[in-house]
């Protein structure tokens, strides 16, 4: 609604009414402009300075980015993110879709089962990490359980093995988030036009065929949303690493979020931390921009 009055014979109270929507939104606009975009810019500036324990504004150009690229720990963290993100996203999607399809078969007690699949999502990553750290404890956890149950030669010590520790993160993260993927897809399955399925049945397609060729391909947008959320969780995940491995052994299970925290707040490498944060933002944008682009394009086609 446009609000340019031709004749303003309105009382001051009426004039206030006209401005109220803008006044009410103003604090949030300020918050967004300063707290989101201003701060991003600020961090961006810091990443070009030699700030250490305290912010300094001595310009050093791309030096921090150079240091980052020369930093072995950063590369380990980035590589871990690739491995962790790739596996976490793929497994969560596969498990989530499978569970959703199975749950869609007129299962008795569906509500209870759904509740069980989804409850980890309500927990803090710290709680999840604590629980799985105990479950995967070499010597006392699953390791011992299976040996007690008669599997004499069973060894499971990935949590302290620099080679495999990342996969422990994957296990815990999948446990937490796959139920959410299930819920997304179940909602998607329920919204599929039943007449399409009936048409396929009339055409003689088998049940697995109907799902693989007709139902799931029509859930493209759900798939895309799930992918987005999972990628977002993966890039930001910090709590899980902090509680499960604290980046260890050594820095073998470091992720960029952990790297950023450690350098910025405990090792007094503010400039380096800022640079790593900016690169994280870049990664999010690289995923987000194509997503938003396709969303907007889809809207325009409606």
């Amino acid at each position: 609604m446009s609000s340019i009055a031709v004749v303003t014979k309105a009382s001051p109270l009426d004039a206030l009414q006209r401005w109220l929507p803008k006044l009410v939104l103003a604090p949030s606009m300020l918050i967004v402009l300063v707290g989101f975009y201003g701060y991003i810019l600020w961090t961006f500036l810091l990443s070009f300075t030699n700030s250490r324990f305290m912010p300094s504004y001595k310009w050093v150009g791309l030096q921090q980015y150079q240091r980052l690229l020369d930093n072995d720990r950063w590369w380990v963290a980035s590589k871990n993110l690739m491995v962790f993100g790739g596996l976490f996203i793929t497994i969560s999607l596969v498990v989530g879709v499978l569970l959703a399809v199975l749950l869609d078969q007129r299962i008795r007690r569906e509500g209870v089962i759904r509740t069980i699949f989804l409850y980890p999502m309500a927990l803090s990553m710290i709680v999840t990490g604590t629980a799985w750290k105990w479950l995967l404890n070499p010597g006392l956890g699953l390791d011992k359980l299976l040996r007690d149950w008669g599997w004499e030669g069973f060894r499971f010590d990935w949590l302290v093995d620099p080679q495999y520790v990342v996969y422990c993160l994957v296990i815990a993260a999948v446990w937490q988030a796959s139920g959410f993927v299930m819920a997304l897809f179940l909602a998607g399955l329920r919204s599929v036009d039943q007449s399409i399925i009936r048409a396929a049945q009339v055409d003689g397609a088998s049940l697995p065929n109907i799902y693989l060729r007709i139902v799931l391909p029509s859930l493209g947008p759900v798939f895309f949303s799930a992918l987005m959320i999972l990628a977002h969780i993966a890039i930001k995940s910090f709590d899980l690493v902090a509680s499960m491995t604290a980046g260890g052994p050594g820095y073998s299970s470091d992720l960029p979020a952990m790297f950023m925290y450690a350098h910025t707040f405990t090792r007094g490498q503010m400039g380096l931390g800022a640079a790593s944060a900016i690169l994280m933002l870049g990664a999010v944008l690289a995923i987000l921009v194509p997503y938003l682009y396709s969303e907007l394009r889809a809207k325009r086609h409606d």
């Binding site: 609604m1 446009s2 609000s3 031709v6 004749v7 309105a10």
Partner: protein, 395 residues
């Protein structure tokens, strides 16, 4: 009760956006029922929102009882509105809905109670007062929406396509009821619709709008019998007026419109309509001849043959009360409305008769009425005439 005058009202959202209003001039008396009718996007709803004060106008003035209200906020204008979606407050009971406006105006509780009771009785919704809108049928919601407007006893009522969400049967019932209510209460009313039947049946005055311009403003009768241009002629009337493109000729001092029927079993036929009653120099002009389906008659036995033509029936569509008979004249499909008893069969050849006095002529380029002087066209500004004619020819 109040008079309403729109004086040169303009509305623009900014550069080049549609749904703007251009130089709207309307004046109605106290107690009159004004219809704003037109296709979607013609600006009629915008105009109504401007009257209500929900949108500001960019120029001109809106006067109620000769006082300019265009700067006032909606709540001070003393105008009530019935919305297309009814816009009932879903969390309030029917009573709460009707009373809300009165509470906002700080009426005493006893007075509110009394007013709600009066309105409920008037609309026969007393038994629904404690229900929530979600528990009501479409027709009942419609009544509550009207009740909410009536309770305020405002100077002017606005109706924004209030019947378009109802099914066909209920729509006819409510239409009659609105008419009855207006006859009883004699309130000044502005009613927006895209339905030309509502426009014809309800209005004291009708403003036909298109592209933000009033194409014609007059009584329903004037609009129907004397349309100012091709658009009004085509928009009002169902089935719509026939439009036959042709070139006017003059022979032996007489202005003639020549009609030819397609070569059917009966061979080609031709008739020359004398149009001497029309004013102006029209000889040789490309025109569009307009004639309403009910004005094409079966020729009487004693017809002199001058204004009648033989034509073969292409299609017939019985509607119940009438049967629509389609023939082809000048390569154009022409609809004739006949009594079911007199209806021919497909393939039969008819002798059709035209009353030259009822025939209307429009300029093929601009769509303007031709041959009349000093008519309502004065305020009409034609836009994009060529395309409009092309569309009409295509029908």
């Amino acid at each position: 009760m109040a008079t309403l005058e729109l004086r040169n009202v303009n509305k623009s959202y900014g550069s080049g956006l549609p749904d703007t209003l251009k130089n709207i001039e309307i004046q109605i008396d106290s107690g009159e029922f004004l219809i704003l009718v037109g296709p979607s996007g013609c600006g009629k709803s915008t105009l109504m929102n401007c009257i209500a004060g929900l949108e500001d106008i960019s120029g001109g003035a809106i006067l109620v009882d000769d006082a300019d209200i265009s700067g006032m906020s909606p709540k001070d204008r003393d105008i009530a509105m019935v919305f297309q979606s009814y816009a009932l407050y879903p969390t309030m009971t029917v009573r709460g809905n009707i009373a809300f406006g009165l509470k906002m105006r700080k009426l005493a509780p006893a007075a509110i109670e009394e007013e709600v009771a009066r309105v409920a009785k008037l609309l026969q919704i007393e038994h629904l007062l404690e229900r929530k809108p979600g528990q009501l049928s479409g027709g009942q919601q419609q009544r509550v929406a009207m009740g909410r407007a009536l309770a305020r006893r405002p100077k002017i009522y606005l109706f924004d396509e209030p019947l378009s969400n109802l099914d066909a049967k209920l729509r006819v019932e409510m239409r009659t009821e609105i008419k009855l209510m207006h006859q009883r209460l004699k309130t000044t009313t502005v009613y927006v619709t895209h339905d030309q039947i509502e426009a014809m049946t309800l209005g004291d005055k009708v403003a036909v709008m298109k592209d933000g311009i009033i194409q014609q403003f007059g009584s329903p009768r004037e609009i129907y019998n004397d349309p100012a241009n091709l658009f009004v002629a085509s928009f009002i009337g169902s089935p719509p007026m026939n439009f036959i493109p042709l070139r006017l000729q003059r022979r032996a001092g007489q202005l003639l419109a020549v009609l030819e029927s397609a070569a059917g079993a009966s061979g080609q036929a031709r008739c020359e309509l004398p149009l001497d009653a029309l004013q102006g120099d029209l000889e040789g002009r490309e025109v569009i001849l307009g004639i309403r389906p009910e004005q094409i008659l079966l020729a009487q036995a004693d017809a002199n043959g001058q204004s009648s033509i033989r034509a073969e029936v292409d299609v017939i569509e019985p509607t119940g009360p009438d049967t629509l008979v389609f023939v082809t004249l000048n390569q154009t499909k022409v609809c004739c409305r006949m009594a079911p008893d007199a209806a021919p069969r497909v393939g039969e050849t008819l002798e059709l008769q035209f009353d030259p006095a009822k025939v209307l002529l429009f300029d093929a380029q601009s769509g303007e009425r031709l041959g009349v002087l000093g008519q309502a066209q004065s305020q009409v500004q034609a836009t994009e005439p060529a395309r409009k004619v092309a569309q009409l020819k295509g029908r």
